[in-house]
Symmetry: C2
Subunit: 355 residues, 2 copies
């Protein structure tokens, strides 16, 4: 096909992100929250809806997403000018790389979109293996920073798929040493589930620190809303490559309503964390299963024949993520409802016994 | 600011797309439809809503947007495999340039996002002035194709902001001559309002033809849904750089419902076209106003002191688009409801009389 010759080589050699819908009864593969909009949010939505939500869809959305950003500003305790809104945090990663270019440095294994978007945009990537405790290999990272001068450094903390937070000291060291030379993105998609506070309080101290937050893990994956939080100078530049109407009217309105019910969001997060702890305990008790401690809403676990375990779970209607090729021998399970977690544990026990 | 040195030069020199919300009573600046969801669509939506629309937002959207694409396939009469879904057609322009790179050739004046996205992605641009009738300057375009070998050619037909369709013969000549060397995008955002059939029927004849359609001009700008329609080989490649969850669940569901009511969509389009003709007649009768014939849902018009006319209209609560710097001396007005158009005509008459 001559078309293939017209395509940029970096795109031609790229594989599309695999996001197939696999039929299942219990979906624990995508780190979604088992809980969606709160009752209060649903009721707020109903009263808004009757007014104008569906009858004004002929008009473009607010390009500045001002109402949404106001609520986000209050929720995160950050000035509105420091917030940029994205069609999911994926889009904000796209924009960051478009704005600053590469090389892009990130540890591996980590969130797969870093490599996919870096390659899609034709930028160079620098991948540094995590150490045996899944923490940052600081020495190697500092070496690579010195030698290869990355423009962007992506640190997902808590990290997906390993579940742990990276050492705060190591992250701070990286931010400090690159101060005027690199932008350091701390991707806090899973931070709401972590025991530590995260990096928002440090935003004013480090001008090259950029924080990514998303609503996808706290009950609103269907809306596609993420936020880039950083110094105003960075926000203004990244905003230039943002498509003007990147978040549709409905997602803007509903996300604003959801953020307004901070109490419910926090309560659900707390509940998921307590379920995660229970799930971890239960998994630890199964001989042949080795779960890794998690600060996120999922648990990575080692199991003897991981392919077989994955397939046997799926036969029972339970979908988890097979981490083959990423963390060999491991599966990743999302924390579900207590009922879902119980069914998962029972299935796992049955499968292990027969292996 | 040291941050400015970290930014790619092409982004640093870029101005963000200006999409400010200007307060007004009658908004005729953005080529939106005055009509949103049909009664049938609203009723379908109500029954879907009660079922599950808002209670499943914790799950990610369908990454393949299969149901939406099925409806689009039926609506456009094109096989599903030839359709790629975008968060508005803006996003699909982004993806096309990411996939094929530059140089990007387009006539000027035209849709402003072509230049903005080309520059945001750091690709070279080739701008060829339209002729005095706002048609393609074929000679100059063929010369530029030969000399500068563009990877992408963007033709908005009907063209925004001029309102006319380019000659079909000229477009076909460009598609034929570049056959294995360039991708030719015919952006049919305004095609529904044109008297000719557009390029969908020619899709099978030209493998380098790519068509862009959007729901933004036919009543659903708030949803952000666009479609790239092309040979499967092209779709598969562009799909690689698409973010997996680029259209949220609500927009997918509601756009599918709207496309399902083809009769209502077509009836509204027909009504807007008849209103456009009436508006054009009325404008032609005003001394000092020169409207250009339009095949779109807006009318470009020349007026003596265009800045003053713009401001005087705004004083009366009517927002149109000032085309200063694009087509000097011209304003662009969107076809509104009969009532809105009448108020606009009356205001215009009053203003012209005092000028």
């Amino acid at each position: 096909m001559y078309i293939n010759k017209l395509i940029k080589p970096n795109v031609y050699s790229l594989s599309a992100y695999e996001a197939k819908e696999i039929p299942c009864k219990i979906k624990l593969d995508a780190n979604e929250s088992p809980y969606g909009l709160s009752d209060k949010a649903l009721s707020d939505l109903r009263s808004l809806k009757s007014q104008r939500l569906f009858t004004t869809l002929n008009k473009y959305p607010d390009p500045q997403a001002n109402n949404l950003k106001k609520k986000a500003s209050k929720y995160f305790g950050v000035r509105l000018e420091k917030i940029l809104h994205g069609n999911g945090s994926d889009e904000l990663i796209y924009y960051l790389i478009t704005t600053f270019g590469g090389p892009v440095l990130y540890p591996v294994p980590t969130f797969s979109m870093y490599v996919i978007i870096t390659q899609a945009l034709g930028e160079e990537k620098i991948e540094i293996k995590l150490d045996e405790r899944f923490d940052l290999n600081l020495e190697k990272i500092l070496e690579a920073i010195k030698k290869e001068k990355p423009k962007l450094i992506f640190l997902s903390s808590p990290n997906n798929p390993t579940g742990n937070c990276f050492s705060t000291d190591k992250i701070l060291r990286i931010i400090e040493i690159t101060s005027e030379k690199s932008i350091v993105l701390v991707d806090e998609a899973y931070q709401p589930f972590a025991s530590e506070k995260g990096f928002l309080p440090m935003l004013d101290d480090y001008k090259n620190l950029v924080i990514l937050r998303t609503l996808s893990k706290v009950g609103l994956a269907g809306l596609r809303v993420g936020f880039l939080i950083a110094d105003e100078n960075i926000i203004n530049q990244v905003n230039k490559v943002r498509l003007p109407f990147n978040i549709n009217s409905l997602s803007q309105a509903i996300a604003a309503i959801a953020l307004n019910d901070k109490r419910a969001l926090k309560a659900r997060i707390k509940y998921i964390v307590s379920e995660r702890e229970r799930l971890y305990e239960d998994m630890s008790k199964i001989r042949g299963i080795m779960p890794y401690p998690s600060e996120a809403n999922f648990i990575l676990f080692r199991v003897k024949d991981s392919d077989k375990a994955y397939n046997e779970l799926l036969k029972r209607g339970i979908l988890v993520r097979n981490m083959k090729g990423v963390v060999n021998g491991c599966l990743r399970v999302t924390v579900g409802t207590p009922e879902e977690n119980r069914i998962f544990i029972d299935a796992l026990k049955g499968i292990i016994n027969k292996m």
